[in-house]
């Protein structure tokens, strides 16, 4: 019930391509879905987040697609750049509580 399943574990994309990372959750009480980006040697930092009352949120090259009925959400990185190479974590939380449940992470490598 508390898990967030993330795939793939690792991803290699050509520069200019689209990177897609998928996550699925089980607990319907989750109402906030952030994505965090982590560069080597740094802590994760919030990239973009969505609430389940919208199906899509876009910020620059980053888009979250949200499917409430399927309990799935995904991160799309358009025109992927080598500087996007990082580990990405999806997460879910119930804003009435304190816990954030993180996915296992996806290591993205964008080839120049």
């Amino acid at each position: 019930q508390q898990q967030v399943k993330q795939s793939p574990q690792s991803l290699i994309v050509q520069k200019g391509g689209i990177s897609i990372i998928n996550c699925a959750y089980e607990n319907t009480a989750f109402d906030y879905f952030p994505w965090y980006q982590q560069f080597p040697g740094k802590g994760p930092a919030l990239l973009i987040a969505i609430r389940p009352d919208v199906s899509e949120k876009k910020e620059g090259r980053f888009t979250i697609s949200f499917n409430k009925s399927a309990k799935q959400f995904s991160l799309h990185i358009m025109d992927s750049q080598p500087g996007d190479s990082a580990t990405y974590f999806c997460a879910a939380e119930n804003t009435g509580g304190f816990k954030t449940i993180f996915g296992a992470g996806t290591r993205l490598f964008v080839k120049a």
């Binding site: 508390q2 993330q6 574990q9 906030y32 952030p34 965090y36 040697g41 740094k42 802590g43 994760p44 930092a45 919030l46 987040a49 974590f89 939380e93 804003t95 304190f98 816990k99 954030t100 993180f102 996915g103 296992a104 992470g105």
Partner: protein, 114 residues
């Protein structure tokens, strides 16, 4: 600019030692968290605190304790370090209230227990 600092980037300890990991945030955040990060497992919550002297167990509290005597400081204590506690430890803080629930992370402490 929010800053979360952790006392050490790298730490090597022996089995059975008592280990203290310190975390300080400078944004007057109410909430503070300790996670451990292991490959393939993501971030797992050890303990969190929503106020001074308040603490709540996360998903994997066994073998750990915490202390929050001041609002800006949250300490993680390994009472008797074991090799299975070798990991990256991340501290985070967040503001209570508002719409956003962004957590601000420190750079992490890579702990090796030999």
């Amino acid at each position: 600019d929010v800053k979360v600092t952790q006392s050490s980037r790298y730490l090597v300890k022996r089995t059975g030692e008592k280990v203290f990991l310190e975390c300080v945030q400078d944004m007057d955040h109410e909430n503070m968290f300790w996670y451990r990060q292991d490959p393939g497992l993501g971030l797992r919550l050890i303990y969190f605190s929503y106020d001074v002297k308040m603490k709540e167990k996360g998903d994997i509290p066994e073998g750990y304790s915490v202390s929050r005597e001041k609002k800006e400081r949250f300490s993680l204590i390994l009472e008797s370090a074991s090799t299975n506690q070798t990991s990256m430890y991340l501290c985070a803080s967040s503001f209570e209230g508002g719409i956003a629930r962004e957590q601000y992370f420190g750079p992490g402490t890579r702990l090796t227990v030999t």
